[in-house]
Amino acid sequence: MGAIDIDVAKLPQRALFDTTIVIRALGDRPDDARSPACEALWEAMLQNGRQILIAAPTIAEMARKEGSRRTIPRRRGVEVVAFDDLAAELLGRSMPNSILQAATQRAQLPKA
């Protein structure tokens, strides 16, 4: 993880982490080349007083286990946010398909 250099000046005050980022930040997929960056971003956010947001649907995706009753941690710096109707409408307006496609191309993300 030492090779990952996070520019603190560019860290946002608050950032919503996707499931794919959170599980790698929490130590899953240690052999994945992307995992160190996820862990470094998570730690940089917390160590610099930034707020990590995790959408409630991400909790559902992560916590897929029959019979488990673990309660969500309530810790400073990491907040689980509801995905309600207001969030859904705002997301739809702010992230139309054209913007998502452009971001995918810019980031050179793999396509199935």
């Binding site: 599980i23 673990r70 309530r74 810790r75 109707d85």
Partner: protein, 249 residues
């Protein structure tokens, strides 16, 4: 008030209709007039056209106030825009959003069937809040992290500030909840409340349902501990992105 030719009248008039001078809620009437003048002035300032109001006339046989405008044309233009913003026909500019909210609050404090009308020379129109935006639910559930900044009162209420809300907000709560939440003053909490929002999305009032204290303990260790139990399930998944449908065509 002596009669004036409306074309040359340089006054801005705020009238409260449906009430009489002897019974009107004085504070509500004055609050409306003051907040409306504030909004009109702020809109004029934004256009680079300074505007001053001087003198107060009390209208005869009705509840209303007249103020002399230093620039009647500017006042008429700003008053027109102000009424549109209050009615919700147009969104106010960022600099006038707070003043617009204050006028709406003042209108809501007018008792019963009372309404207001604003007049500048020959121009006049009702000053009224439009129907609530259909974009926003009248009542909704709020689940958010917030800092408790005040709690108490004979009718218990708790005031919070949250990075997720533009302004601090107040919600009612039961005496039992008030006792429980009291020790957490100036602490972060995860709260659940039923709230009512105005047309701009600001929380007007609500009811606290429950709260969960937020610990200052290390977040990473807490979340890793929580996830450890689930990670075994994910170990069986070869391609995380494919499993979650994150690949885009």
């Amino acid at each position: 008030m002596p009669a004036k030719d409306s074309e040359t009248d340089d006054r801005l008039v705020v009238k409260i209709e449906g009430s009489s001078p002897s019974t009107v809620d004085a504070q509500a009437a004055l609050r409306l007039a003051a907040s409306y003048l504030d909004l009109v002035r702020s809109l004029a300032d934004e256009e680079g056209a300074p505007l001053r109001f001087t003198g107060i006339e009390i209208l005869n046989k009705s509840v209303g106030f007249a103020f002399h405008a230093s620039a009647p044309d500017v006042a008429r233009e700003a008053a027109t825009r102000a009424a549109r913003y209050v009615s919700g026909e147009e969104q106010p500019p960022r600099g006038a959003a707070s003043a617009t909210r204050n006028v709406k609050e003042a209108l809501r404090h007018l008792p019963g069937p009372h309404s207001a009308r604003v007049i500048v020379g020959p121009w006049s129109r009702d000053l009224a809040i439009g129907p609530a935006s259909s974009d926003l639910p009248a009542e909704s559930s709020l689940s958010v992290r917030a800092k408790l900044i005040r709690v108490g009162g004979t009718k218990p209420a708790a005031r919070f500030e949250s990075a997720s809300e533009e302004r601090p907000f107040t919600v009612n709560l039961s005496i039992d909840l008030a006792r429980k939440i009291g020790p957490f003053l100036y602490r972060e909490l995860d709260i659940v409340a039923r709230v009512h929002r105005d047309a701009e999305g600001m929380i007007e009032y609500g009811e606290l349902v429950e709260f969960i204290p937020v610990a200052d303990d290390d977040a990473t260790s807490g979340w890793r501990e929580w996830y450890r139990d689930y990670s075994k399930e994910w170990d069986q998944v070869k391609d995380v992105e494919a499993e979650l449908g994150r690949h885009r065509h």
